[in-house]
Subunit: 403 residues, 3 copies
């Protein structure tokens, strides 16, 4: 591999690679350190990405692909993804290709080059062994490798891909259920094979969880002013926007779920649920996910909405809504609204169409019919037991474009 | 101690020991590594069993007892349990007795012999010190030692003894409340005595819990496809059958409680509660235990039953039941059922006898009167506040033998 | 600094220091080991106090101040607090001043002197570096330093200052949001700067939480028979009185909140909430705090009160009350009470004044009007949906002085 001398030459090199027959621009790529099975060394249990490229850095992708091809790796552009080992020759090639950037690659600059610099150091010192893998994702198809599962979970957790935007079908089948010994995944079978010896020696490991997924904080440095008071409560693949705070009581954020602004989370945000800026998921509040009771409709919660303590929400809500403490609003829950309150609700939901018949001076809706409306207040009348709907007193910021 | 040369001789030896005057077959036995008090060395804080024998391996029990007797230990068969230190001489004897099995003792084979082989190694290397204890349980009486408490908790957690089948009276009195520094129990008094020095040196330990019980995952390797997303949420003495998954939100499984099949656990399974295959304990759902509101009746939940998010269940339920999200079904909760629905419920509960009077076209039951019935659906009518009972739409697998 | 030879001389010395011009008696003082920013060394991230003096040990305070003044530190008595580095010369002075107590300073005796002895040892060995700080609090004003924030949180958690008695304004602004790597706080910015290298080397740290506050168990040795089954669930600044047990399900105790006696905690005790002896906070029960829905009125729960599973309480309650499982009692919740039940309630609440009109054979109150009353039972009638109030069957211990 020849040594590239200038940024100009680097760009020429990348352009040349891109013209290779069959070349496809990857939508994502990255190099991961992998943890392999203790008994089944061929199995990859975890992939840790220092840098994730998602619809960006196409020249670096070309450089990596060039470095692979020049180390006799046959890069297959035909599938939805390509993964292979990171070998010493590839690293050496990549160092030569990225040469013009080596000196300025530190801090926030040229992070892919920083990866290569570190790999070069490791290759000199303890050797790369089979600890590193490189992956290119050419399309968002069903994952075929652990590396692509992790790459997508990173994309979600880093906010590079929006929640619910990726194809995650089949990931449960790919991920191994392992014992998480702090940050390190251990095969259950290996534990079983070594139980007697470790227990008698007093060296049985501290296992913090047994799961297919790692925790968010094992891989992701949170955004500014995000607080996660218990690492066990956020699964890798969740996204917590700036200012989101998660308390340790009954809270939980599953993968492919999270927030899009500063949210106070004291309840459960199930897989597929997204909660908007300024909203408050009260202590023990449950928001149901597509895996847990919403008939496949993912629930979005708007901005500035309050889900009271121990409430349950199974339908999408707009901005400025309130579900009272202890109240369950499921798809089929019937709610009564007076003419006056309905008028107030229509004022801030001018596009809401309905064909309800009046009944005793008011109307009755199923909660699912109210999906996504703003300014709703769900409560149970403490003197009649009736679930009522009224206009909430929370601020609703109307989108001027809609009026 | 003479060296035993063949499996035949081993069997003869075991048979001979069993004929010792006063010999009793132990219902359980095992060798544990123990953690002792840092200040009070005579106190045992934790017992870790690499292998638990429960109503099995009687010949190995006889061999262990023989090895003890030949090392001048006076085994007392008179009490409900016998515990003593594991000494070098005992280990040497045991190695000689188990000689015919030494070579094949690895993997899943001859696990008691593996224990002895490891102890022999440890005795040669660092010495046994007073780190090991052997216990024989002759009957399931009230525990008299920490070792027997742990042996019973293991039996439950390993599925060797059914939940609720063992005498656990008095175990809270035997177990010391300790600081769990990862896997190691530390006496609170020792912490206090060393606080100043450790804090100034920056060596104050990481304490994950202060409790009498350790966590399940400190001692037990879970069954196939069991997921425990937060180790703090399952206490030693719980049992999680194959396929059970515990999410980290508001879930918890106490000792002497758990599942008998694949269950999704997002709520609380209190001590004495057992949940059946295919059931779903929704986010924040509480199932009350004998220590928390059921008047001493332990609650069993059948198969394929759904406890909705933030529901509360204080009575036993059969198969295919539903408790709606946010609904509390306690012993005294009155529920209304129409004639039509009652007829549907009777179809799948042919043996249900009741003496209720008709009232306004339907019937009213206290929830406790419906204990253990199949196919019940508990909901609160959102337009009247009335707690109603109807036939659920969950699958109920009827036991053909009952019809 | 001259060597003090006797206890008498020590007292004379302390008295002399107290007469220094401008001297003020500190309400609290202590020496802390501090953790500093990895990137911003001037930032203090955590202060660990081996000993906290709170309205006590004034002679020791004088001795410390004398040792500072004699090491050329200009102690400023003018502000609400004074903090400075602990230097070798100060330690040497303090050893000389405390000389009469050095020999007997161990165990529970002369704990401030034990601190000085340990610092002297550390100064000889690895050196004090800039790891130690001393703070004097002259009044309970708004905190000006991390050290005073920690000193106040310690005072609360050690039970030296009653919950809700201290000025904690502005502490969120002072505390840095950090990654807690077990007991050590790490700057997020440092993690980001070292992410690539650590991830590739396999040395990325185990992060248990990202928060401004540490956990209670990182700093405080619990009172007798306190059980905390999951360290993540109690924030520094909480107080757990003797006999309090916290289960791991949906429980949580925030800072400046806790118990004043033996309480079973399976639910959430929000900031500013205090729960009395013998009470039971059921699984998933929420008690609202001033930051979460009580209009600024802090909630106190009396003795022997039961908050049922998944209940929500937003008003203060007296002794012997019951909130049924799943019931939400908020400030505006209307409850119906019959004449007979109201009479029973008045028997144990003789000072309760009200001006309610009879309505249909009974009365209706807003829950806030019943604040702090004893013996209330809140339930929802399962056949009408009406929230009712009656006299509870829990024991109420009346204060004889009030009758």
């Amino acid at each position: 591999m020849k040594f590239i001398e200038s940024e100009k030459k680097f760009k020429e090199y990348a352009a040349k690679i891109k013209k290779t027959d069959g070349y496809r621009e990857p939508i994502a790529f990255g190099i991961a350190r992998v943890d392999r099975g203790q008994l089944h060394n061929e199995k990859i249990l975890q992939a840790t990405f220092p840098v994730v490229n998602w619809k960006e850095n196409y020249a670096s992708a070309a450089a990596f692909i060039g470095a692979l091809m020049d180390s006799e790796v046959d890069v297959d552009f035909g599938g939805s993804e390509f993964v292979c080992d990171v070998k010493k020759k590839f690293v050496k090639n990549a160092v030569n290709i990225f040469n013009p950037y080596l000196k300025e690659a530190f801090g926030g600059n040229h992070r892919n080059v920083q990866v290569i610099k570190n790999l070069y150091r490791i290759a000199q010192d303890e050797g790369l062994e089979n600890n590193f893998r490189i992956i290119f994702l050419f399309e968002d198809a069903e994952c075929k490798s652990i590396e692509s599962v992790y790459l997508k979970l990173y994309a979600l957790s880093l906010g590079k891909a929006p929640l619910r935007s990726l194809n995650l079908n089949g990931i449960f089948g790919l991920l191994e259920n392992v014992a998480w010994c702090v940050n390190v995944p251990i095969e259950i079978e290996w534990l079983r094979a070594n139980e007697i010896e470790m227990k008698l020696d007093g060296s049985y490991p501290f296992i913090s969880a047994v799961d297919k997924f790692p925790r968010f904080l094992q891989h992701v440095i949170p955004e500014e002013n995000v607080r996660i008071m218990d690492a066990s409560k956020v699964r890798m693949g969740a996204y917590l926007a700036k200012g989101t705070a998660l308390m340790p009581g009954a809270s939980y954020i599953n993968f492919n779920a999270g927030t899009t602004g500063a949210v106070m989370v004291e309840g459960r945000i199930s897989s597929s649920v997204v909660v908007g800026d300024g909203s408050d998921v009260g202590g023990g509040a449950s928001i149901l996910g597509v895996l847990s009771g919403t008939n496949g409709n993912p629930v979005s919660i708007g901005k500035n909405t309050l889900l009271g303590a121990n409430s349950v929400t199974g339908v999408p809500l707009g901005d400025g809504c309130i579900v009272d403490a202890g109240v369950a609003v499921l798809e089929g829950t019937k709610v009564s609204v007076s003419k006056e309150q309905l008028k107030l609700i229509l004022e801030i939901n001018p596009n809401f169409k309905f064909k309800k018949q009046e009944s005793g001076g008011g109307y009755i809706f199923k909660a699912i019919e109210l999906s996504g409306l703003n300014g709703l207040h769900f409560r149970r009348d403490s003197q009649t037991g009736v679930m009522t709907l009224s206009r909430s007193n929370r601020k609703v910021v109307l989108n001027a474009d809609l009026h």
